[in-house]
Symmetry: C2
Subunit: 233 residues, 2 copies
């Protein structure tokens, strides 16, 4: 009975899928939190560790894919189970992207740490923490199968866009005033863009959690920030 090769029940297999996604989410969250810290502390050693750890998330995504294919092939999931499995497959893709963006932030942090600090760098962690908050909460929504919480995270994307647009303008102004800062500010521009994209993907996860739980998409257009479209894309 203590054999590890005991045949798992369908229910255990579904739980295993949930745990894989939760573990991916936890890793993505940790990578993002550390990437923000690396930017803030100009810590290249931490950034290098983040880059090295990205592979774990990729491996977990492959494990999610394989487990999903296996589940679909051996069971005949219906209705809510099927929605859960399909949602897990998509959520895995988004979490992998989020971790990838965190890795990209870490890569640029190494470049930044070699140059003098500029003022707008201090606004980046705030944007990062806002995106991190969205990620934390959407993972809670996933773990708790909480459609209302998913919708609440979804509605925050517009505020993140506003923060991003304001930082974008700050960086542009800074570059114009001090052209020697163009190289550094360009890295910060892309770091900011990566953080804004992380919020987009947290929003994608929220849409999938909502669909998984309710069978319905979140109604209406995705919220937009009040800022100009110019800084978007």
């Amino acid at each position: 009975m203590a054999s590890e090769h005991i045949v798992k029940s369908y229910d255990q297999e579904l739980k295993h899928l949930q745990r894989l996604i939760a573990r991916m989410g936890g890793l993505a969250e940790q990578q993002l939190a550390q990437a923000i810290e690396a930017v803030e502390e100009r810590d290249s050693a931490l950034a290098a560790r983040i880059i090295a750890a990205d592979r774990q998330v990729d491996d977990l995504e492959a494990e999610v894919d394989a487990h999903v294919v296996n589940l679909l092939a051996r069971r005949q999931p219906m209705a809510v189970d099927l929605r859960e499995i399909v949602a897990a497959l998509k959520i895995g893709t988004f979490l992998e992207r989020i971790a990838d963006y965190a890795k990209n932030v870490a890569k640029r942090t190494i470049e930044l740490a070699q140059a003098p600090a500029v003022q707008p760098a201090y606004s980046v962690p705030r944007l990062g923490r806002y995106a991190l908050g969205m990620l934390k909460d959407v993972l809670d929504a996933y773990n708790g199968k909480d459609a209302e919480k998913a919708r609440e995270v979804w509605s925050r994307d517009g505020e993140l866009d506003d923060l991003y647009n304001s930082l974008f303008r700050e960086l542009l102004t800074y570059m114009m005033e001090d052209p020697r800062s163009i190289g550094v500010c360009t890295h910060l521009l892309f770091i900011a863009k990566n953080l804004e994209r992380i919020g987009d993907h947290a929003t994608n996860v929220a849409e999938n959690v909502h669909f998984q739980v309710t069978g319905r998409t979140i109604g209406g257009e995705r919220p937009r920030g009040a800022g100009a479209e110019a800084a978007k894309a």
Copy 2:
């Protein structure tokens, strides 16, 4: 017999899925080709049409998702069919992203068209056409279930990175020499980044086509350009 409500065969349902993906791919390709043209011709009216047409791709993605869930629920696909269905779900996600990046290029084109042209703008279409070539070929690989062609597209991502890195440096130099161009060049930086990302997603599609056809992942690390990592992310 001529009834439209005749029950479709499993084979017809799989073909329908392939057609949905082919249609999404065709639309994404058209959106990208037009976005490159809009940049090249500084054509805001064309850019506005691209932005408006993005919704069609989103709708197709929702149709793919619904069809996949339906297929999985009603049939019990095994082995190669199951791989095909799961691959279609993921490929749909990547094609939606590609069309979204094309839309983002179009949005920035509208901003660009209001400002004086700068020299590096002429290098952008070349990068765009390289990404477009990857997209065209990976869609051919999908339609022809051609794993070798998928691997060939996959191997081109490093070259695209090199083109991107060279454009990135050109833009940085240009901004430093003429700080009045910073606003315009920043839009071009993000356009270039969007095009580079489109190549990444064409590479993701290639990986899924290869897996669908052979059941194996493409071996080895994803090819990297010879250029510095600095410009990446």
